[in-house]
């Protein structure tokens, strides 16, 4: 009897709610650990080594990081990746909102799933083919230029349609539209329509009802859309490669070049780690500031509210200054570590102390 106890305890633990939950997620968890965490660890490890012609020097060094952070080429690419991803996110979310709004509020309930289905149709073709299609559409002798010339709007084909950052933004915004529409649609669907009527009943016009009720309640969906679009686009490799030209090259293309063209895997790994860190810090910073801002916004009013709105702008300026001047004054690594630390600590402080309220932020 005695030796059967542990088995009973184990099966009991497995039958408890938490145990059942663990059992359910464990295949996925093991999969994630093996296929995500392990490669990640290898990449981090590589980033501290160096390539010596054909062999890899397995000695811990920060040289790669020093090079990556001082060479203006990498900084430019990183900056461009973030600003292209930011633009893609802004364009996608701003265009996706009206679509989601229309489906949620104006499409008859029995037609909604048909509409969602239609929106996912672009997914039926491969991502690569969609990018290629844009390359055709935006080409020098493509339909856009052809149409504009046919109507006499322009005499010569526009050369700037393809092979630059704009082309990357257009292509990515199209590719990620459904990813933005779906979470916003879900958030809008969850809004109790009685709340909108209550707002009208309490004297607000349809426009003010949208601003005071619909938009705040749709915010979790908008933020989900922002994350879902921003994170994959920062590291996108195919689109900039195919339609970006030299002006639209992004950090992922450089990582590819380091690893496969220049055969410098440690440098590629370093860039990857840096890109990941910068994106993570940017997002943590943004999320914590949005939460703080929403929380404060609900508690103060008038001019003080504007001050709170201005605070992140001041903070961006400060961060910009540290990135620009800090290395010269304090040294590269200390300045950047201090900056990362400050962002991390302040964000963590905000995230742990400010209640999240009804927003999923």
């Amino acid at each position: 009897m005695g030796d059967r106890r542990p088995v009973n305890a184990l099966s009991k633990a497995l039958r408890s709610d938490a145990g059942r939950g663990l059992t359910l997620v464990s295949p996925a968890l093991i999969y994630a650990l093996l296929l995500l965490a392990a490669p990640l660890a290898v990449i981090v490890l590589f980033s501290f080594w160096t390539q010596n012609f054909l062999t890899i020097e397995r000695v811990f060094t920060l040289d790669n990081y020093r090079t990556a952070l001082t060479d203006p080429l990498y900084a430019t690419l990183m900056q461009r990746s973030i600003s292209i991803a930011g633009m893609v996110t802004a364009v996608t979310v701003i265009l996706a909102f009206p679509v989601a709004y229309y489906i949620s509020f104006y499409v008859r309930p029995e037609r909604k799933s048909l509409w969602l289905f239609l929106i996912t149709i672009p997914f039926w073709t491969s991502y690569l083919i969609r990018v290629f299609l844009w390359r055709v559409i935006l080409a020098f002798d493509g339909p856009v230029n052809g149409t504009l010339m046919g109507f006499g709007v322009i005499d010569q084909p526009l050369p700037w349609l393809l092979y630059n950052a704009t082309a990357v933004v257009i292509t990515l915004a199209h590719a990620f539209a459904p990813f933005a529409i779906l979470p916003i649609f879900v958030a809008l669907e969850k809004i109790d329509r009685a709340l909108l009527e209550a707002s009208r009943d309490l004297g607000e016009s349809p426009a003010m009802t949208f601003l005071r009720v619909t938009l705040p309640l749709a915010m979790p969906g908008v933020l989900a859309a922002v994350l879902i679009v921003f994170i994959p686009t920062v590291g996108d490799y195919v689109t900039p490669r195919l339609v970006g030209g030299s002006g639209g090259t992004m950090i992922a293309n450089m990582i590819y070049a380091q690893i496969f063209d220049l055969n410098d895997r440690p440098m590629g790994a370093t860039l990857a780690v840096l890109a990941m860190t910068i994106v993570a810090l940017t997002l943590i910073w943004a999320i914590s500031r949005v939460r703080l801002w929403l929380w404060l916004g609900g508690r103060i009013s008038g001019r003080a509210r504007l001050l709170v709105l201005a605070a992140p702008v001041a903070e961006i300026a400060l961060i910009g200054w540290v990135i620009g001047q800090g290395p010269a004054i304090f040294g590269l690594i200390p300045a950047l570590l201090a900056l990362a630390g400050a962002v991390l600590v302040s964000s963590a402080a905000i995230l742990f102390s400010v209640p999240r309220g009804r927003f999923a932020v």
Binding site: A198, D201, L202, G203, S205, L217, R358
Partner: protein, 365 residues
Amino acid sequence: MTDAPLIEIEGVEKYYGDYHALRGITAGIGAGEFFSLLGPSGCGKTTLLRAIAGFEDISAGRILIAGRNMDGVPPNRRPTNLVFQSYAIFPHLSVAENVGFGLRRAEMSTADKRRAVGEALEMVGLGQYGGRAAHALSGGQRQRVALARALILKPKVLLLDEPLSALDKKMREQMQVELRRLQRQVGITFVLVTHDQEEALIMSDRIAVMFEGEIAQLDAPEALYRRPASRKVGEFIGMMNFLPAQVGVSGVTQGGIAVEVAGLGPTVLQSAQCPGAARPGAAEVGVRPESLTVLFDEGTPAAHRATGRVDEITYYGDMTYYEITLEGAPKSVQVSARNMPGRRLLDRGETVALAWDPSSLVLFC
């Protein structure tokens, strides 16, 4: 009420596609009145209330508030406020922000607005809750927030769609009294939708009983209870027994209507006791359970008597309901008796004498 009613509802019709939800509603609701719309589920109460609030377009007829035709006036421009059945508390705002939601356009200083919100919360007994997140409230507290949020705007009319149905019995009874007190205090016209006849009787000055998109009867609670206009209304409001009856061939004479009631015997009723016109032939007589008095002491003198056998006993503490089959009646009737000190409970199978009064009968032809 000498002046024109505050709300005039004139021949209002509403179609949802083919479905005829409101079939010619006409009613006047006076200023400061506590008016109830009472009816079974699906009879169109909410539809009518939402039409007054401006959320439903009406297919025909018109609604006037304070003499102004409300046709085409959007909800935000109407002098009405609605307390939603689900309360519709904004989940992203605090309790105080919910209550102050409608004050944005008011020409008041921020400090005045804050004071108004504090007073409104105080009035509904939530003085301490202003800073709370709205989603962290109980059902009863939500209901109070919804009430404060509407009352703070001092509307001419407050519309309430089953505001108490989500509360438990104790809470509901407490809120019924409180709502009534509040209505007297602020002097605003209340229009309450409910399917609970007891609630309507307790709270209202007047009640409109609705069936299938029509007003079956519009009266003060007592008149509604004592003189239901139809068998259906009598059945819906409180409990009513129906006994088969025969209106005499002489029909209506100036002395009254001669009726032979199964179980009670022959009697003469006043024409006021018969809604609609009495005709000779088969009819029904309605009698409330408390209008039949059990004679615990057989010797008590009574002008009108009946006898019956006790079939079933339901004990409520303060009252006991007896199911009694009267001699000569085809089915049993409910009789209520107050449980007083020294009064015994009847036994099943016991034969009892009952006293009744012709004036408490209602004749349905």
